[in-house]
């Protein structure tokens, strides 16, 4: 991989008829980074990626790749390549021909193209499988052929649209590690689309969270997890419980919040005094059997999941979803509990 390009979206807007899929999207991706577009289904991730590939053209706005304006260029004249959700391997060509296809399209001699394709297959661990038709490969192998086919062109930017969604859970973990490892080794720019926050956290340098055709928040995985800008992000990044609270003191690193009669110290992160919201991760809540606590609750449901127990707890501030590792002490429904918070996994959401 010799070149890795930057990507700039400037005020991109995309309409399908009367429906606006993307409102006003601007972001920048530095060369060599892996950036994830994350968001619920239908928020416009695929549309964004397809505009970058040239498969859709924006209604207005500019797209720059490697500093060059490509807004009007057709897909086949852009220096990007894409791994499709369905892989889109050509069913009538074997793996080697699939991988060599792009090289031959750009005018390379058949023999050279095949040599390079062979190398590329080796890179993804499929040496010697070139003669097989896609239908004769397993799902994971097909996925790797798709990656090899995109990478062999040494594009400035590699696009991946939910590349793991057709794999089973175990393979998903392995392949995502492989993709990330390959990206860091070769140093190419990659834009990765997923709706799975765990996958996004695992592979990304940066995450752009989208909602209804707009950017909800962008930043490093850590920023997004620990300092969500809104209840939506907090919930999306880890099924957080959002609890209304009052910030009563702010000083230095810490702030004190109050919920009813219950007080707790949390990292302040620019918190302002007054009413606010608290994002609480399910695993940051402690439950103790007790009556008349400062923050009382009552178990509604419980589910034993082997490594932990999940609870739904009714409180005066709404229902809380709790993940408790203490499997040896299951709490039965209707038990009165005292709700408490741990030191980590809690963030104040301003505004």
């Amino acid at each position: 991989m010799t070149t890795s390009g930057s990507v700039v979206f400037k005020n991109i807007r995309k309409q399908f008829g009367n429906f606006t899929a993307i409102h006003d999207l601007s972001f920048t991706i530095e060369p060599g980074q892996l950036v994830t577009l994350l968001g619920p289904s239908g928020c416009g991730k695929t549309t964004t990626l397809r505009m970058l590939a040239g498969l859709e053209h924006p209604t207005s706005g500019r797209i720059l790749i490697g500093g060059k304006d490509v807004t009007m260029l057709p897909a086949n004249e852009r220096d990007v390549s894409m791994v499709f959700q369905s892989y889109a391997l050509f069913p009538h060509m074997n793996s080697l021909d699939n991988v060599a296809y792009g090289l031959e399209s750009s005018g390379m001699r058949k023999k050279d193209a095949r040599e390079r394709a062979e190398e590329s297959l080796k890179l993804v661990g499929l040496a010697g499988m070139g003669g097989r038709l896609p239908a004769e490969l397993s799902g994971g192998q097909q996925q790797r052929v798709a990656v090899a086919r995109a990478l062999v062109l040494e594009p400035q930017v590699l696009l991946l649209d939910e590349p793991l969604s057709n794999l089973d859970a175990r393979l998903r973990r392995q392949v995502r590690t492989e993709i990330r490892e390959l990206q860091q080794r070769l140093g190419f720019t990659a834009v990765y689309v997923t709706h799975d926050q765990e996958e996004a956290l695992a592979v990304s340098d940066r995450i752009v969270i989208m909602k209804d055709g707009d950017i909800a928040q962008q930043g490093s995985p850590r920023d997004l997890y620990e300092a969500p800008a809104s209840a939506f992000i907090a919930d999306f990044m880890g099924e957080a419980n959002v609890v209304p609270c009052d910030v009563i003191t702010v000083g230095g690193q810490d702030a004190t919040i109050r919920i009813g009669a219950f007080e707790h110290r949390v990292p302040s992160r620019n918190a302002r005094l007054g009413p606010a919201k608290l994002a609480v991760r399910p695993n940051a809540i402690t439950l103790e059997p007790a009556t008349g606590a400062a923050f009382p609750g009552q178990i509604l449901h419980s589910a034993y999941l082997g490594a932990h127990v999940e609870y739904e707890v009714e409180t005066s501030n709404g229902k809380l979803f709790v993940v408790d590792p203490a499997v040896e002490r299951p709490l039965t429904p209707a038990t009165e509990v005292a709700v408490g918070f741990k030191g980590r996994g809690i963030a104040i959401i301003n505004g």
Partner: protein, 743 residues
């Protein structure tokens, strides 16, 4: 940018060549004979466009000027402005070229208004030739490239150019002729506006008379045609339904044979049934003769008229109706019938209250198809109708007969077109979305209930005699060629075959002495040229319709499909009206036959292609594009290999249609380019039934051989385990034809 400049340079080079290097106007002996090279460029007859401008045909200069603007636009650096400039001058170029072609005829202005505006022209112009056509093409390409540079169709020049070219061609070969015919109805011989002929003909009692209702008199040809179409549609729908029920709901032993019947109408030239009926029931027919000798029944002429045409049409179109209805009958979910039975309905009630109502939209569809087919049928009425014809034959006789009244032909054609288009629109809008056929992806495990007993007896009573009758008819077609003089001298002979297809070997060369060879080879040549063109144009259109979104896509698709509802006779008459005079002169050439076939049969290719392509995942093309392949390469390397079955179907169908069709062809053939069907009809008119039948059966055999050959040539795809795509393989050939009929 270099890619854009390269393709633009090619288009500009074409434009330059059009004006400078080749003759602008049509050359009598044909451009491809290259006889013009000797006199080029000085002789005005073969001079290039640029010399004509200098020589006084100043109206061509606007086009040359626009071409120069295009060349200048090449050097504009701002891509958006460059694109706009190219698109505008390209569009204007096409516009001006068409306008001048229509406005300036052989002897000067065609229209009075331009005469008063610009003064009289001393000299007119001949028809467009290679130069003018090439200039048009160059302008269309430049227009498309301009739009592509502005980002239209995601900047894909191939796609934009394909759409523009197709629209351009359909406009020339479908809308322009039909439009010319409509205008021709209102014109005098010299082209001036004169509605007299139109008014006289549209009020003609021989068209509209309702005398038969009042008693005595015969009805007008319009009503007779309508009546015949309704009767034929009704008859073939009922027969088709009976067949479909027998094939799906009974334990009839010859179901395979039934399915085979559906292939017959595809390979049978349309008048052959009529011909075979003549041999059975005509005045000299076997049945007539034996009845006369056994019971002394006077040989009658009852066959020659609506009754005979009706029988022939029901025989011809029942297989089509069967093809449409079998899907409908199979599509009624067995679980509905099972549900009805568990609700205590007996078989009879289940059939009448559940199965039949669910088939109703399908039945209406089959009826409308039968209606359109009957209206458009030309061969059977020609053979059986004699002088008491229907609209399609009346149109023919209005042009070729002693009447020679183009205005009457145009009026009749307009009436016919109104009938078929109404039926087509009814089918399109009224029936669309009303199909209850419940074929789902879920495996429907139930079984259809068997028919109530009386109904079962009824359908068998219809189907079995019909099948035997069909066997007799086709037996007649094979046998009739070997009989000396039908009805009079039934001794066996090879004479007819010898007369049609004799060969002589002399001095090591073959002399094609048979009378049929000439038209046979012309037919093969034209069918072989037009089949791949039809398939290519049809599949390209299908690709554009399925895979590209563009403004007016629905209108585009609709217009294409509509051209299928235009009866061949109407196409034929409109082609001779449009392409007989400048600006485009093609009558008497092979080109006009090829154009006619391509644009008449293309909708089938489109249907088949659309069906097959919708099953190919779109991300395959997108993957190819993001891998740097152009759309053209994508089509060639990815889509075509996966569409092989659809290609076979389109090739076979267009090939066979080119051989069997008669209605449009009979207007367009010439001494030099005579087609088999037109020749056979001529034989029939001369009473040479033996040779006609021999020739027809030869055609049927050749078509069967060639269909098999095509199948081998295109071959199968090697896609193991990929059942989604291979599902198309089996279905494509028959569904394409079924869909064309339902289109």
């Amino acid at each position: 940018m270099d890619n854009r400049n390269r393709r633009l340079d090619i288009a500009l080079g074409m434009g330059l060549a059009a004006f400078v290097l080749i003759p602008w106007y049509r050359i009598e002996v044909g451009f491809l004979s290259f006889g013009w090279l000797a006199d080029f460029p000085a002789d005005p007859a073969v001079a290039p466009g640029i010399l004509h401008i200098i020589g006084g045909r100043w109206w061509l200069s606007s086009a040359a000027l626009l071409m120069a603007v295009c060349a200048g636009a090449r050097f504009v650096s701002d891509p958006m402005r460059r694109g706009a400039l190219l698109a505008w001058s390209g569009a204007l170029g096409v516009f001006f070229l068409s306008l001048q072609g229509l406005a300036v005829g052989f002897s000067g202005w065609t229209w009075a208004i331009s005469e008063t505006m610009f003064g009289t022209l001393v000299d007119g112009q001949p028809s467009m030739g290679a130069g003018a056509v090439l200039a048009c093409v160059a302008f269309v390409l430049i227009f498309s490239f301009g739009l592509a540079e502005r980002g239209v169709m995601k900047g894909d020049a191939f796609i934009v150019a394909s759409i523009a070219m197709l629209v351009f061609l359909v406009a020339i070969f479908v809308f322009y002729p039909v439009g010319s015919m409509l205008i021709g109805a209102l014109q005098d011989f010299d082209g001036s506006f004169n509605p007299d002929g139109f008014i006289r003909n549209i009020q003609d009692p021989s068209i509209w008379s309702l005398g038969c209702v009042a008693g005595g008199e015969r009805c007008g040809v319009a009503w007779r045609t309508l009546w015949l179409a309704i009767m034929t549609a009704g008859g073939s729908t009922i027969m088709g339904l009976a067949f479909a029920l027998v094939a799906t709901r009974t334990r009839f032993p010859f179901k395979k044979g039934l399915r085979l019947l559906t292939v017959l109408p595809i390979i049978t030239p349309p008048f052959v049934i009529g011909l075979a009926l003549t041999l059975l029931f005509g005045r000299a027919g076997v049945v007539t003769q034996s009845l006369s000798s056994l019971f002394g029944i006077e040989p009658g002429r009852w066959l020659y008229g609506l009754t005979g045409i009706w029988i022939a049409q029901v025989l011809s179109f029942t297989p089509i109706s069967f093809l449409v209805l079998i899907g409908v009958v199979e599509g009624v979910s067995p679980s509905m019938e099972e549900a009805s039975q568990t609700l205590r309905a007996d078989r009879w009630r289940t059939f009448w209250r559940v199965s039949l109502p669910l088939m109703k939209p399908g039945l209406a569809n089959a009826f409308l198809i039968g209606f359109i087919e009957s209206m458009a049928d030309f061969g059977n009425p020609l053979v059986l109708g004699g002088s008491h014809g229907v609209l399609s034959t009346e149109i023919f006789f209005a042009v070729v007969g002693s009447q020679n009244d183009p205005s009457r032909a145009a009026v009749l054609a307009i009436i016919l077109l109104c009938f078929t288009l109404t039926a087509f629109l009814a089918q399109r809008f009224w029936l669309s979305g009303k199909n209850f056929a419940t074929v789902t992806g879920k495996g429907d495990s139930g079984i259809h209930i068997s028919l109530p007993r009386p109904l079962s007896i009824g359908v068998h009573a219809m189907v079995i005699p019909w099948m035997m009758f069909t066997l007799v008819i086709y037996g007649m077609i094979v046998f009739g060629g070997f009989v000396k003089t039908w009805g009079l001298d039934n001794s066996l002979t090879l004479d007819h075959y010898v007369r049609a297809f004799s060969l002589e070997f002399a001095n090591g060369t073959i002399a094609w002495t048979g009378v049929a060879w000439n038209s046979f080879w012309t037919t093969m040549e034209i069918a072989l040229i037009s089949a791949p063109l039809t398939a290519a144009v049809g599949l390209l259109t299908a690709y554009l319709i399925v895979r590209q979104k563009f403004a007016g896509r629905n209108v585009f698709e609709f217009a294409l499909m509509m051209s299928f509802a235009i009866p061949g006779t109407v196409i034929g008459i409109s082609y001779i009206m449009a392409f007989n005079l400048p600006p485009l002169e093609m009558t008497g050439s092979a080109l006009i036959l090829i154009a006619c076939f391509v644009f008449r049969n293309m909708p089938v290719g489109v249907r088949g292609g659309v069906a097959a392509m919708s099953q190919l995942d779109k991300s395959l093309d997108e993957a190819s594009l993001t891998l740097g392949a152009t759309s053209f390469r994508t089509i060639r390397k990815v889509i075509l290999p996966l569409l092989r079955p659809a290609i076979t179907a389109a090739l076979v169908y267009s090939f066979v249609r080119a051989i069997t069709s008669i209605s449009a062809v009979i207007f367009l053939v010439s001494a030099e380019y005579n087609m088999a069907t037109a020749y056979i009809v001529g034989l029939v008119e001369n009473g040479e039934y033996g040779v006609a039948i021999a020739y027809s059966s030869m055609l049927i055999v050749v078509m069967i051989a060639i269909i098999a050959g095509f199948q081998l040539l295109v071959g199968e795809r090697r896609l193991r385990r990929e059942n989604r795509v291979s599902g198309i393989a089996a279905a494509a050939p028959t569904t394409a034809i079924g869909q064309e009929k339902t289109a």
